[in-house]
Every structure is written in C-alpha cells, then in structure tokens.
Amino acid sequence: GFILESLDEKKTHTQDASLTSAVEAYKKARNDVSFSICEEALRLLKYQRSLKDKINEDLVGKSVHDTCTRLLELKDIKEAERMRSNFKIPDRRYWWLRIKCLADAHDWIELEKF
C-alpha cells in the first residue's frame, strides 16, 4: 500500500483513476483503515460532482467537513443531513459545525432553538 500513496495527491486535483489504484493497492496490502479512507475520498469526489449541478457550485477537492460547511452556509440543511449520515460525521462534530455556521450567519433565532 505504500507505493501508490504519492499518487493520490495528484488525483485529488485531476481525476480519480489514481485514487482507485490506491484503493486497490491498500486492499491488496490488507491495510483496512487506509483502504476505507481512500474509498471514502473516492465516494466524496463522486458525490461532489453530483452536487455540482444541484447547487451550481464546484466543491470538488474540498474535505467532507468543508463541503458540509458550505451546504450549511447555503442553508441546504437537508443535503447536509444526508452527508452527515452518508459519511458518518460524528454528532459532536456535526453540531459544532451547525452552531458555528449559524453563529457566523448571525442567525440568533435558529441558534436559540438549540
């Protein structure tokens, strides 16, 4: 699994072919954690591409956290909730994020509801 990780950096910029090969390599090396991390990154890329048409904004290359933040900033709470379950964002972090985004938007009324 060591050989190909240098590849995935380039991949995040351009295409996911190299990420796929990294996933394969980690699978062969039985490095389960790295395998699932790369796989999730791949899933994220696909998801971000599908978002592109929906919200008219290119989020490719951003992390799960940043993507979710952007969705909350756009007040697309439904989509954000979907991300939360799809990517298994822990509660603690998700609520931190919700609160921070509301505070940044000065949405004190929403914030009161917590």
């Binding site: 950096e9 995040t12 991390i37 603690r92 972090r93 994020l97 921070k100």
Partner: protein
C-alpha cells in the same frame, strides 16, 4: 563579533574559517560580481559574512534563486551559491540559460559554489541540462557550521531527520560526520565518545572510516583537545521533547514568532515610542531583532522560565531608575562617573524597553485560553492522564478546524505518552482528520507513521517506565528559582537532557542499564585516546552535545542550567543539525514527499 568568544571552546574560529573560505572563492573571480543565493542559505551565511564584508570584494548585487529570469546587472561574474539539491540545479541551469541569451557581454562568467560539498548527482543533472559547460568555476564553499552563539553552532539542515528516517537517505549523516571531523581539526581529537540511536551509530561509523582515510594527511595529531567528551543524541531517541511547548523566554519567542538565524520578527506597533506612534510614519511591517548573547540582558533572560521574566524585568527597571535618579547630592567624582557611564546606561535602558515589549507580546498569547487549554492538555498527556482514549480536547480542535499542525502535534504527544495509540483511537483520529482537512491530512499522518511519531500501541509501556525511572515529570519545581531542568517545560524535563545529566553523573552508560533497553537504536561508547593524546586535559571538562535531527531552545536552556550546577562541573558546547520547535519539526516531516 565578540559574542562568539568567551567559552573554553572559541566558536569564532569556525566563523573566521568559513568567512575566509568564502573570501578565497570570491577572489578567484576578479571584478564586479553578483551573487544568487539559494534561499535557505542567504540567512545563515549572514552569520558568517555580512553584506558589508562581501561588498569589499566587489559583490555589487545579491538575488534569491528563483525561476524568474535574473534582473540585468552589469557585472562580470554571476555566482550561484546553493545547497547540493537537484531541483536547485534546474533553477541554476534555467537562470544561466536565460541570462546568457539576453546578455550582450560575451565575457560574462557563471560560477556555482556548493555548500558545503559538491554532489555528483547534481553535476550529472547539470550535464543533462546542457548548461554544465557554461559554468566556469564549480567550487565548494566548505561551511558546515553556522555560529549562533559562544556555545551553539548549527548546520542549518532542516531535513536530516526526514531524509534518514523517512527516505532512508544517509547523505546528510555523511555531512554530520564530516562536520565532527572538522570540529576535531579545530579543537583537537575528542577522547571520549557517547551516543545513542541509529543515526548516531551510523555517524560514528562514518566518522571512524573518514578518520582512517585522513590519518596520513593530518599532521596535527598530538594537538591537545579542548573538548573532552562528545555525546551524539539522535532525535529518534527523544521525540517527546520537541513536541512539548517550550516555556523559556527564548523558547516561547521561537514558538510564537519564530527565530531564524538568531533573528526574530515582532509586530512593530509594540515597539514604537509615543511620538513615533503619533507621527504615523511609514513604518516597516515587522520589527526584527538579533537575539544572541551580545545582548547582555537577553543572555540573562533567554533561559529563564517565562514566569520568571516579568519579575526580573521589573527588578531591572527599578535598579535602573535608581541609577538614573540616585542621590541628588552627588560629589563631582560621582557625577563624572555618571556622565561617563551615561552611554551604556542609555543603551541598557533601550534594551530593557525592548525586552519588556517582547515580553508583553508573549504574555498576550500565553494568557489566552487557546494557549492555556493546549498546555493543560499537553501536561495531562505527559503525566499519563487519559492517554488511552480519544481526547475530547483534540476532538474539539478538529471540529473547529484549528491549524492541522497544532492538532497533529498534540496527537503525536498523546501517542508517545501512551507508548503508541490503541488501534481504534488511531483509526478514529485518522478518519476525523481526513474528513475535516482532506486527503492531505492522510498523507501527513502516513509520513508521521513512517517517522515513528505515530504508531499502534505495543505491549510495553516505554514512556511510563521512563517517566518513573528518569523523573521526567516533576510537580513542584519552582519556575522562578528552578532546582531542576524540568522548569523549561514547567513539569516536564526533556528526556534528552535528563539522559545527558545521568550520563555525566554516572560517568557512562553503565549506570543507565535499566532504562537503556527502552530507548531505540544502538549505543555508541568509545574511547579514542591515541597514545599521544594524554589525559592532561582532565581538569577542564567540556562536553560537546551533538543533536542529529535538531534540538529546541528549551533543551539548550536545560543544558545551560546543568552547566551552572556545581556538582557536574561541566561546560557544554551544543551542535545541532537545525534549531527546531514542535511545529517546524513536524512540518519538515509532513512536507516530504516520499
């Protein structure tokens, strides 16, 4: 530069030798010249030869080495001074190519000086680029060490640890061995050598081989030695100390503002007098100061715990006021003396104002919740509290997307304190990091794993045992009047320096048998007393401590503290491959693309 002298080992010798070497090289190029610097060198070389000196040798202009074309200058020689790095060779080739095309002067010459040694690989690279023939002189500017202070020299090679432990490239260890050889040339052979760690062992092996090769050429065999003992500390033996926040004055300046080549930059608004503030003039956006023992007040402050700095400064201020005002009825004699001293008194006053302002800048940070919470988390880890599960404090830092380096530094510290993280915890951190910071965090973590800073728990609890056996945490030591080196991190005594202390007290590794098994790598324990070097120098007690992979200011302070203890009766000279703190150390590891 008188601040380099004073110890039993005269560091200014190194400076003079390096400067002469540069001047000799410059004299080979007769006529006006321009120097193009590898950015990593321009600063450190200033410690050897200042621009004023270079000007005397017709250096008209200096530029940084970049991929943009050189500004056109009317000089006969263009001299590139670089580290032997491949990517720099491409820049040199590109620069020479562009400049020679655009230049009208056919007599213009290009030269390349490597610091400190040529590399075959680099020369091959130049040949491939087709520019090798355009270079008239290819020389070596043999500058292994940059003198920082009368007890401190640095090679300024930031990548030594990552080169060796991540990329398995021992080139820089060869530089280290050469550098020690050079020190022995200046200060005589070192009779007793101790060391620990893979890199230390390899340096020692290289060194003995080099010595055998050089034996016939070296005439000054029966030179007396100024240095009695050499202790080589491989950074891998103590990865904890760089991660802990330094709490000494100099250490905090480095943590918060960064010290490079003894110079630190501060926000300027703190340093203006009232009038200056009002004039609102074009002030520079940074205020920089040189911090070394040439500044008397700083040399007293630098090694103190920050909590002792405030009281010390106010005491000085009171003393000074007394000096200025004093008794109003003075005899003529006293008045004369006062006038004579006025100049130094004014200088002292401005130094006092400067350090008070710096201390205020630091206090702003260290009083913040950010800093205090972080420090508390750190100290809990060092005391082995709650090290076995994911830390809620770290979780929150991640959730708020605080700087990655800060988070990683704490995770690494927790990892070492728990002698490796539980597989579940490590996996959890990894996922969290990647979700928040993206895949670059994954690459960073992978490098940290290779470097041995992150790992899965093994059966033995190395840190727990070491902490007990070597008293690495001391609860009740005073910060203002310290009695133990643990004051440099308030509660934590740097492992590297504790080892040094025990080694000197016990007179060797033998006394340390029970902890040795817990430290990685082989031990070096040699005497190189050749027949003609006799023990005539036993009354002087100078120990050279060489850190391979960098050392922190707090470690240096701890060594200086030890040298003041009467029972040890030693004087230290510190050599390092680079001055580091937790952030710069981790960055050098994270940013290597292996």
């Amino acid at each position: 530069m008188s601040h380099l002298q004073g110890g039993k080992v005269d560091v200014s010798l190194i400076q003079v030798a390096a400067r002469n070497s540069l001047i000799n090289l410059l004299e080979k190029c007769v006529g006006p010249k321009a120097i193009v610097w590898d950015n990593s060198l321009a600063g450190p070389v200033g410690l050897v030869a200042q621009y004023v000196t270079l000007k005397e040798y017709e250096v008209m202009k200096m530029f940084p080495l970049r991929d943009s074309p050189l500004p056109s200058v009317d000089v006969q020689h263009v001299i590139f001074i670089t580290r032997p790095k491949l990517h720099l060779m491409d820049l040199v080739a590109q620069n020479v190519h562009n400049d020679s095309k655009s230049s009208s002067d056919p007599k213009k010459q290009y030269h390349l000086f490597f610091v400190p040694r040529k590399s075959l690989l680099c020369i091959k690279r130049l040949e491939h680029s087709g520019m090798f023939g355009s270079l008239t002189l290819i020389e070596e500017f043999k500058c292994d060490f940059f003198p920082f202070d009368s007890d401190l020299i640095s090679m300024e090679l930031p990548e030594v640890y990552s080169d060796y432990y991540i990329e398995n490239d021992p080139t820089s260890l060869y530089h280290v061995a050469q550098a020690i050889l050079l020190l022995q040339k200046f200060y005589g052979p070192i009779p007793r050598v101790w060391g620990r760690g893979m890199a230390a062992k390899q340096v020692w092996d290289l060194l003995t081989r080099l010595q055998r090769e050089n034996l016939t050429r070296d005439v000054k065999e029966n030179q007396t030695s100024c240095i009695d003992r050499l202790l080589i500390i491989d950074r891998s033996v103590d990865l904890i100390s760089p991660l802990a926040t330094q709490l000494t004055y100099e250490g905090l300046i480095d943590e918060i503002f960064g010290i490079n080549n003894t110079t630190a930059n501060f926000p300027p608004e703190k340093f203006l007098s009232n009038e200056e503030r009002n004039t609102d003039s074009l002030s520079e956006d940074k205020k920089s100061f040189i911090l070394n023992s040439g500044d008397k007040l700083f040399s007293e402050l630098r090694d103190k715990n920050f909590n002792a700095v405030g009281p010390f400064l106010s005491k000085q201020a009171k003393l000074m006021n007394a000096q200025f005002e004093g008794d109003h009825e003075k005899s003529m004699e006293e008045m004369k003396r006062l006038v004579k001293n006025l100049k130094t008194m004014m200088a002292n006053k401005s130094l006092l104002a400067r350090h008070t302002a710096i201390a205020e800048c630091i206090k702003e940070k260290t009083d913040g919740y950010d800093f205090l919470d972080c420090l508390q988390a750190e100290q809990e880890f060092l005391n082995c509290i709650e090290v076995d599960r994911a830390s809620p404090f770290i979780e929150d830092l991640i959730a708020q997307k605080r700087p990655l380096i800060k988070v990683l530094r704490l995770i690494c510290l927790q990892c070492i304190a728990s002698s490796g993280l539980k597989p579940k915890v490590l996996e959890y951190y990894k996922r969290e990091l990647v979700q928040v910071y993206g895949l670059r965090a994954f690459l960073a973590v992978t490098n940290l794993e290779k470097a041995g800073l992150l790992k899965v728990q093994s059966s033995t609890r190395h840190y727990t045992v070491l902490r007990k056996a070597l008293h690495l945490t001391v609860e009740d030591s005073s910060e203002v009047n310290p009695t133990d080196i643990s004051y440099v991190h308030s509660i934590y005594a740097p492992l590297s320096i504790r080892l040094t202390e025990q080694l000197l007290k016990g007179g060797g590794w033998k006394q340390l048998q029970d902890v040795l098994g817990l430290l990685p790598g082989p031990t070096v324990d040699e005497s190189q007393t050749t027949s003609d070097v006799l023990s005539e120098s036993t009354n002087s007690n100078v120990v050279l401590v060489f850190f391979i992979g960098g050392c922190t200011f707090a470690e240096i302070s701890a060594l200086r503290f030890l040298s003041q203890q009467e029972e040890l009766n030693v004087e230290f000279v510190i050599a390092t491959t680079k001055l580091i703190n937790g952030n710069t150390f981790l960055e050098s590891i994270i940013n290597t693309d292996a």
